[in-house]
């Protein structure tokens, strides 16, 4: 075949990068001591920075707020008090042990909507009035997501599952059935604290992913028609779900060859190898149906094997690994997943993305390496332990602290997070219906990413800077206005009552009373919002401006004063950035 130009890491490239990263603690030849199978770097002597645990009451409170911004959908006064009393580690323990709030397992419906399944707008509404909306759009799943985000206690699991859903993406642009998308998102929620190898396996065998990236009913080469196996899942599994296009050092920085160019992780040969592995899998057989070689779309359960359509030939996998001919389908798949899972890129690739989704868009390479190291080995010899990774990520000194001085630190609150956090700050109760309708105008319709590349890429640079800010890809003149106008609706709009088209709807209620109680003292009112939403970082000038606007509201209208303060804080550019 074609001679690859920059394929595969070379010993020299590895040596150079690692020696540099570790301060030349290792001789170049030691690079090969990097144990591929355990993933443990035998020469990793990364020092953990001195802990900067805050000591003052304000500092402890600020760090508690920041922890809640990173590990939940947003702080509330009660949660802040709780974290202050039990501390970071105990709070994370609680979250890891929290019973899961699962989605409703929506009933399967045919892939093609029957003519009888329509939206009946006549009153009174029943659970089945809106058949089309409730089964052939993502509406019921989306509103459950937002309802759980506001009120269900397994917050960290929800955050991690949402982060995973933006890395291993399926989208409502193609998966339009609620039950199908629910089955897929349930996998990520179920495995958020499990092992990443299990995530890769269950995602690969998900019929929803099989539909989205065309692995379902992918068949071996047909010499007569010239049809080749579909490459879509193979390509995106490698590029987006696991290793990326260039070889990485343990700290997430790209390796370079002797000419200074990045080293490709795979070439067309490997894509074709994986594409040929991913043949012969079909949709699950629907209950009562006769199993067919090529099953029609059905999304409950895992894809089924059809060896007659599987390519039995040898296949080129990563880093020179070759899957021998004649493997069973299960063995062929396990082999391929292993090839991916054991690649040294996975730790830093996943670590950086999870850090970006939970803490900051610009982690230091050292932070990435500390988290990747735990991915490689959780301390008990296990590779891929997501619970350990998430715990390490959140307890790391780069995440913790009362205030961060680095001007490049932080991330733009993404629309889903922004909408929910505003509601939680007001101790909201919500059925999720109103909230799910808000994020589309901000560029992030839930579970409907424009492509498998998510709503935004991990390497987007904030305009005019050299700072990574993935979420800024969604910040434009239209979406910026939409954010503020949402706050206006929440604060000054009419009460959000139950949607008459949704059976059992309860609407969204917020509680202004804690803030209204401080309306007589605008400084105290603003200070409370500063503490809860900005962990005390509001500048004196900003406080003054908000206090002036609050004071301009009649002192007899305490709720209006509270709403004015809330509107200004939450609409501010200072609050748009989580840091």
């Amino acid at each position: 075949m074609i001679a690859p130009l920059h394929k595969r890491r070379t010993a020299f490239a590895i040596a150079t990068a690692i020696a540099t990263a570790l301060g030349a603690a290792c001789a170049p030849g030691d690079a090969l001591a990097l144990e591929r199978h355990s993933g443990v770097a035998t020469h990793d002597r990364v020092a953990t920075p001195v802990s900067r645990t805050p000591r003052t009451a304000e500092g402890i409170e600020a760090d508690a707020v920041r922890l809640l911004e990173q590990s939940t959908w947003g702080p509330s006064a009660a949660l802040v008090a709780h974290v202050r009393s039990i501390g970071t580690a105990a709070f994370l323990d609680e979250q890891f042990a929290m019973p899961q709030t699962r989605y409703t397992a929506f009933a399967p419906w045919p892939a093609t909507r029957p003519d009888t399944c329509i939206d009946d707008r006549s009153l009174p509404v029943t659970p089945t009035s809106y058949c089309a909306r409730d089964n052939y759009t993502l509406f019921p799943l989306q509103r459950e997501f937002f309802r759980n985000a506001v009120m269900a206690p397994d917050q960290l699991r929800q955050r991690v599952a949402f982060a995973l859903s933006q890395i291993l993406v399926t989208s409502g642009t193609e998966i339009n059935q609620a039950y199908a998308m629910q089955r897929y998102q349930q996998i990520l929620a179920d495995l958020a604290f499990d092992n990443f190898r299990n995530v890769l396996t269950r995602v690969t065998l998900s019929p929803v992913m099989g539909n989205y990236l065309d692995m379902a009913n992918n068949v071996k080469p047909n010499a007569r028609t010239g049809v080749q196996p579909n490459e879509n899942y193979a390509r995106e599994l490698l590029q987006l779900f696991s290793i990326g296009t260039v070889e990485l050092a343990p700290d997430g920085t790209p390796l370079a060859d002797g000419a200074g160019k990045p080293v490709a992780t795979y070439d067309q040969d490997e894509i074709e190898g994986f594409a040929h592995v991913f043949t012969g899998w079909t949709y699950p057989t629907a209950p009562g149906a006769a199993p067919r070689t090529i099953n029609p779309r059905y999304f409950d359960g895992a894809m089924e094997e059809r060896p007659v359509d599987h390519d039995p030939a040898a296949k080129t996998l990563l880093d020179g690994r070759v899957a021998p001919a004649g493997l069973s389908m299960g063995a062929d798949l396990a082999n391929a997943i292993d090839s991916v899972f054991m690649h040294p890129n996975v730790g830093p690739f996943l670590a950086k993305r999870l850090i970006q989704k939970l803490v900051t868009g610009n982690p230091s390479p050292a932070y990435v390496r500390r988290v990747a190291t735990v991915f490689n080995d959780n301390g008990a010899g296990v590779r891929g332990d997501l619970k350990a990774v998430v715990r390490t990520l959140l307890q790391d000194p780069e995440a913790r602290g009362a205030v961060k001085a680095d001007p490049g630190y932080g991330r733009l609150r993404e629309p889903v997070q922004f909408v929910i956090a505003a509601a939680r700050a007001l101790d909201a109760a919500s059925d999720g219906v109103f909230l799910r309708a808000q994020t589309g105008a901000m560029g992030q319709p839930l579970f409907v990413a424009p492509s498998v590349f998510n709503y935004y890429p991990p390497d987007y640079v904030v305009p005019g800077t050299h700072i990574l800010g993935p979420e800024f890809a969604l910040q434009n003149t239209t979406t910026a206005l939409a954010r503020i106008n949402y706050v206006n609706t929440l604060a000054f709009g009419a009460a959000i009552g139950p949607d008459p088209t949704v059976y059992g709807a309860t609407g969204t209620q917020v509680d202004w009373s804690p803030l209204a109680a401080l309306a007589g003292d605008p400084n105290a009112l603003v200070a409370k919002l500063d503490t809860l939403l900005l962990h005390g970082t509001l500048s004196a000038a900003a406080q003054q401006a908000i206090v002036a606007a609050v004071s301009a509201v009649s002192a007899n209208d305490a709720p209006a004063r509270a709403k004015t303060a809330f509107y200004l804080v939450v609409s501010s550019p200072q609050y748009q950035v989580e840091r």
């Binding site: 992918n218 879509n232 105008a441 700072i467 910026a480 004015t564 609409s571």
Partner: protein, 462 residues
């Protein structure tokens, strides 16, 4: 709302360097802040109006089914691979015949593009064959030796490359944004040159003022402010907050976009809020997203007197072209939206008397494999065919060289029919940019690698 993105590192455009070239000012004179408005005094401001409209077809359009040879030999090659059993074949009978005036070979357009067939016959549409990203003019041997753009078959990389015209390394700006930067002194307008109805992408990103992103429905402005004292005080406080904490780059970036939106809303909101009878007539009944985006663009063009814009670069998009399977049905749907929307847009510009001032063109990630993939689809490939539409276009012609439809043949980079482009994106863009008013010097910054390709002007405009 789709977006593609700039990446860290790589080749920034040096504003001082290009300004020195275009204005002749010394380095000393340019030391200090770069104030394009004051420099406009040294550059003559244009008196006419020109607009470029980029239609990005996300996913990688299978050009093999957009433009099909209809001569016996050519269609024979097509049918040998894309016959009835291939799952992606188009029959001779269903293709819409066109006769490019400059080649002696009949071609057919996809059956769902009848409006484009009519525009082509009327000389308002030009077709460009086998366009793609190249590091240099490339043969099969060159490709085998590794001379090719980075990450050829990756969506994100190729979208970034088509939008930036940078084939190696990464770029944090797009050629639409760089073109806007280059034209800014001569446009002499306060209204942003770049407007997108499809979110902010790399294409529209330059180093000058940020692009305007407009919605296709709903209002464009801050809601909830009245004339009372409390309302005004709240408005003032928000304005103050938007100007504070500039030392934090992330806060400043978030604030700048918000302030730009607020500042433009008084002008933009009335334009978007209503639809004139002229535009309603042209777009009547079209409800697709691409039609709505083009209607919003048409409104801004129509309101050119109110915005004071002389030069505008617009960005719209249509997604869904990553046809790994089900290509025939997907194309029927998507082309069924695209074709009438483009016609409506052209008709609108004609009704406004501005057809020759607006040029619309397509871009896409890449083409697709000529050989089909399981499921009635095709995989990622390279060169593909594109179209340019407008009153100034030398239409009714096929520009460039159509590939030999032979898998593994002389035009195939690999073996499944991934055509090595014979026209580069730089040549394509430079032809558009020249018409837009870019000077030879401008083109060096907008398309840094243009000199590697010849001709620098493909001839489909002016």
């Amino acid at each position: 709302m789709v977006s593609t993105f700039g990446r860290p590192g790589g080749t920034d455009i040096d504003r001082r360097r290009f300004l020195r070239r275009t204005t002749g000012l010394s380095a000393a004179a340019l030391a200090g802040s770069l104030d394009l408005v004051s420099l406009a005094a040294h550059a003559s401001v244009v008196s006419d109006y020109r607009a470029l409209v980029c239609v990005f077809l996300f996913g990688g359009v299978d050009g093999n089914n957009v433009l099909v040879p209809l001569d016996a030999g050519g269609y024979g090659q097509y049918a040998a691979v894309r016959g009835a059993s291939s799952g992606v074949g188009l029959t001779q009978a269903e293709l819409l015949p066109i006769t490019p005036a400059n080649v002696g070979v009949p071609f057919g357009l996809h059956p769902s593009l009848p409006e484009l067939q009519a525009l082509f016959s009327a000389g308002r549409l030009a077709l460009l064959a086998n366009v793609g990203m190249l590091t240099q003019p490339t043969t099969k041997a060159d490709y085998a030796a590794g001379n090719r753009p980075d990450n050829l078959y990756s969506h994100s990389d190729q979208q970034a490359q088509w939008q930036s015209a940078i084939a190696e390394g990464v770029s944090r700006s797009g050629w639409g944004g760089r073109l806007a930067d280059a034209m800014a002194p001569r446009a002499g307008q306060t209204f942003p040159i770049v407007t997108s109805a499809a979110g902010v992408t790399l294409f529209v990103t330059g180093t000058g003022s940020g692009p305007l992103a407009i919605p296709t429905s709903g209002s464009f402005g801050l809601a909830g402010f009245g004339s009372g004292a409390a309302s005004k005080a709240r408005r003032a406080a928000l304005a103050t907050l938007l100007g504070l904490d500039r030392d934090n780059a992330l806060v400043a970036a978030a604030a700048d976009i918000t302030r730009q939106a607020d500042a433009l809303s008084a002008t933009v909101n009335p334009i978007l809020a209503s639809t004139s009878p002229t535009l309603a007539g042209a777009f009547g009944g079209l409800t697709s997203s691409i039609a709505k985006e083009l209607l919003a663009v048409a409104k801004l063009i129509e309101a050119q007197a109110a915005t004071g814009a002389k030069r505008q670069v617009f960005f719209v998009s249509l997604g869904g072209f990553d046809t790994h399977n089900n290509e025939l049905a997907t194309h029927r749907t998507l082309f069924g939206q695209l074709s009438p929307a483009l016609k409506a847009f052209h008709d609108a510009t004609a009704a406004l008397g501005m057809a020759d001032k607006v040029t619309t063109f397509t871009l896409s990630d890449f083409g697709r494999t000529f050989q089909p993939a399981a499921g009635g689809g095709s995989d990622h490939a390279w060169g593909s065919h594109h179209l340019v539409m407008g009153g100034a276009v030398n239409g009714g012609k096929l520009y460039g060289r159509y590939p030999q439809l032979v898998p593994g043949g002389p035009d195939d980079a690999e073996k499944e029919g991934r055509w090595i482009p014979t026209t580069s994106v730089e040549q394509y863009g430079a032809t558009l940019a020249r018409w837009f008013g870019a000077s030879a010097e401008d083109l060096l910054t907008v398309f840094p690698n243009l000199a590697r390709f010849s001709p620098g002007d493909l001839g489909f405009l002016g």
